[in-house]
Amino acid sequence: MSSAVAQTNTQKTARKTEPLVGMGQTTVVTKPETTRAVLGSCVGLVLYHKRLGIGGLAHVVLPASEGRDGLPGKFADTALPHMLQSLAKLQAHSSGLVAKLTGGANMFGGNGPIQIGDSNAAALRAALNELKIPIVAEHLGGSKGRRVTLDAATGEVEIEIAGEETTTI
């Protein structure tokens, strides 16, 4: 990658002020709020209720809890029910939700340990399918990290990747 591109992205990716959703965390935001996460092989699960302008973002680390304790957002099989519960408290029930998935990169050129992105995405797709929550957009894979920002006013997810144009899904 050229340094010119890297510098352009450094400018684009100046620090933002919203709280960062860390590994294993989930958050719910209402319009006009935004929330964001930096994702490597972890997958960002976005749930959005268009009419209410309410959205949620989970930073999913692993596909299955297999009975282990941990942060509710850490595992695909616990993150989804936890987010649904949080959204339901704001009357954003599953029948009005759509989902977006992003992240899941194969970091370090696929040579690093535990390339878990594909498994995370597959687990989330299966769980969403079971609950009949449509996945309206995906931006997954590749070999680079992403900074993703969910805008609760629009449901749009801005995706920034080093050396690439910013994408919105």
Binding site: V5, G22, M23, V38, L39, G40, G70, P113
Partner: protein, 204 residues
Amino acid sequence: MNAPTTNDRTQALLHELFAKATNTASESLHGWTSGQITLTLDEVHELPLEEVSAQFAADEDMLTIIVLTLQGELGGQIILTFDNENGRELAATLLNRTPSEGDEWAPLEISALKETGNILACAYVHSISDLIGQKLVPSPPHFVQDFGASVLQQAVMAQAMVCDRILVGSTSFQRGETELNWRVFFVPDHNLLSEIHTTLEAAT
């Protein structure tokens, strides 16, 4: 599989171990940079998973990064990070030229940074190997430019599989009295961390 727990005594021993490894690395780097660069251990952190990104200054910055992976049953990651300017200055120092301003990272510049990562990693690995009496094998260095947080997340993934608290050793670098925007992180995986704990506890 249970994650090893760290009490105060073990934490102190871990700090001692990381300090020794950092000292060895500093001596190697001092030689590699003709006496210009040294490093010191900042902290050995054991922190909640969700704080990994936020705890380090590297969280959301776009960084130039050299990654080495320990291969085999005892694994882990050694990650050397710079901002773009510091990466170019290091390469220029090593190549005895002024920092480049072109669009591309020249293969020679990348090679100089990779070799720096290699030297640091070998110094760390040597100290840890001495302690546990087992051979550790680092991979060839890998050059990436990415968000610091996304790289750290991948590095802690092996520990995240088994626990919600992550052990990370972090250091800072100095050129003379000047603090440099470089960091090196050593993140042992579960097996290596268990082996280190076992050895340290047996020694007490």
